[in-house]
Symmetry: C2
Subunit: 196 residues, 2 copies
């Protein structure tokens, strides 16, 4: 519906140059009564704090198989992932997880308990994955997904998964499944080692 190509648009990066309130150039400084550098507007006084983002997702299970989606977007284009995405304003982690599952896989689920809470400090994120039961296996993937499908434990494409939070959530699930008990797991993933 727009006359511009979608590739014209990009997410605003963390680096901020101008004040969102008055449009003046920003100064990097430690504000009064603070202890770290912020982007500050010395014209209108606005301090532009930045904070980590939450990624919310689901581990959806149909009978004995797990639903995975192949990413149609960067980062990690063409790798397999659990349905997940950035938490939006005004929603809970649970609402966001259900919304992302609908947007990426187009599948109806019954949300279960929160399962993994994972600190990812180098990405400035916290990831949350819920367990969920797929109510009807029909899939209708959205534009962020190349394809979606169900995988038995031995079919999971471990070498083609998107993120370590997805890998570790799947690992915890397959381990806990043996015991039939699924407690909340909370942990951090360290900065990845450079390849090569």
């Amino acid at each position: 519906m727009t006359e511009r190509a979608p590739t014209f648009y990009f997410p605003a990066p963390r680096t901020q140059k101008f004040c969102s309130q008055c449009g003046s150039p920003l100064t990097r400084m430690v504000p009064p009564d603070d202890n770290r550098q912020r982007d500050v507007c010395e014209h209108c006084g606005a301090i532009h704090y930045q904070n980590p983002r939450n990624v919310v997702g689901v581990l959806p299970v149909w009978e004995d198989k797990i639903l995975l989606c192949r990413r149609a977007i960067e980062p990690r284009y063409n790798t397999w992932t659990l349905p997940a995405g950035f938490m939006e304003l005004g929603e809970t982690t649970a609402h966001g997880a259900v919304r992302e599952t609908d947007e990426e896989a187009g599948v109806q689920i019954e949300l279960g308990p929160l399962y993994t809470v994972i600190d990812v400090p180098h990405a400035e994120q916290v990831h949350f994955f819920y367990l969920a039961k797929v109510l009807d296996p029909g899939l209708n993937p959205g534009p962020e997904t190349l394809e979606a499908g169900y995988f038995a434990a031995h079919e999971i494409p471990w070498e083609e998964l998107s993120f370590r939070t997805v890998i570790t959530t799947l690992e915890h699930y397959l381990h806990d499944k043996k015991n039939g008990v699924f407690p909340i797991h909370h942990y951090s993933v360290p900065h990845p080692l450079p390849k090569g």
Copy 2:
């Protein structure tokens, strides 16, 4: 150290008028391949997403008492709280919780497990509280705290507590203390009812 009064500065609100990348006025629109309104720069193409923030804190225990801090800042000035504040870029929820405890109470702790994870959708926040053991009861409150002190269960000023996430975290703790088992609690707090 600044010649301006600290009150000159204020946190930039959610409402954004100008692009942080090029300073042009923003347009409220649904970007291509998106499904909700964003602040978009039609000059440079930057999409200014906004996301919920995390608040990270601690329930610090010394012998049989809980450490509380009386707030020297808005909102909820002069009410009692657990040490907590906004998670910063580059840290884990655990690092942030320890930092806030140091900044607000000036006390040394041994951090325990994550204890409550609380969705607060009307505030566009998720709150995390860790259990912690106070290593030395000496206190050195920072500028965001009027005073800090230790409270036995029957001394907790329930009517003067700051936030429902603090109240419910204390309630869970006192309940779980009877059983000696402290599992992670995950829940949401609904929008508060208007008073009167």
